[in-house]
Symmetry: C2
Amino acid sequence: MLPIPIKKFIELFSELPSIGPRQATRLAFHLIASGKNTIQEIERSLSDIKNLKNCEQCFFIATAPSNLCFFCADSKRRKDLIAIVEKPTDLLSLEKTRTFNGQYFILGDLAKAGVLETAQRLRIKNLASRMEKEFPDKNAEIIIAISPTTFGDFTAQLITQEFKPLVKKITRLGRGIPTGGEIEFADEETLRNALERRN
Amino acid sequence: MLPIPIKKFIELFSELPSIGPRQATRLAFHLIASGKNTIQEIERSLSDIKNLKNCEQCFFIATAPSNLCFFCADSKRRKDLIAIVEKPTDLLSLEKTRTFNGQYFILGDLAKAGVLETAQRLRIKNLASRMEKEFPDKNAEIIIAISPTTFGDFTAQLITQEFKPLVKKITRLGRGIPTGGEIEFADEETLRNALERRN
């Protein structure tokens, strides 16, 4: 009934976050009706993001040709204050508060299963080594900006254990954020309060 | 703050139907995290749908190498019964009822403004010429399967005027569909009723 390229498109796009088969179908016909130029523009855009690399320090996206991201490359930001977040979108939400002037560290999506992946444990170990080397006097500070879900709390405990011997202060984002909620969806004011009242 | 390729991606994807800037942002980071192979697969899929052509008869998507779509190429379907629909997704919804065995004709998205585009008027004229030629005895039938919105009703009137002298019967989909609702979102049973009770 549907040509194979459309079926394939629907299959691929249905797998993307919050796009179902119905929206994927509408997208397919919308794009075909939009014409070759529109589709080509999207292809070019995909090709461009394909070549992006992670910041070698914090795992946000590096701003080419640098190997660092916007935040790690910015000499005006504090290097002794690091916010550990789960996702790049969490970083963007925090940044919108214009309250935080430190650096970030992205852990990667926390699995629902409740166990950190090897890659995530490695990222934490690497950050720990870096802190040890850069701040032998232990005068740095870590903010754990992980969503206060059950597994987020568990992860926060792990991080606290890891960094306790290495830094002078470890805090989590304060109240403000409703328990069980997601950082990504909090409004700027709630996040601003959470940054100020962290404990 | 964000590398230019990500900004461009968010801008492009935010323009697609029912994708907002927030979902586009999440999509961008999701795709980057999914890696090159996933993005390449999507690029290939886009490249494939880019080369699809409209059915030269009904303006659904032609199944290559034919110039006709699945429905127009199917010799088992009635050629003297034509359902005029707005969108390809409306066609798919009707087809799911397994009640209709005629052919389709796609008018294209009705503008909110209330006037048919030149291309749409041309499509109607072309269909009219075809009916005149193929059914000089006027023994064909037209089903107007346009959503019963204000402008849908207006369009239905236009179509009725155009085809009244050319076919033996013109009907619209029957009750069943709530007034002001959209065909695309009707369940199969409602659509089946609407096909049976058309008037």
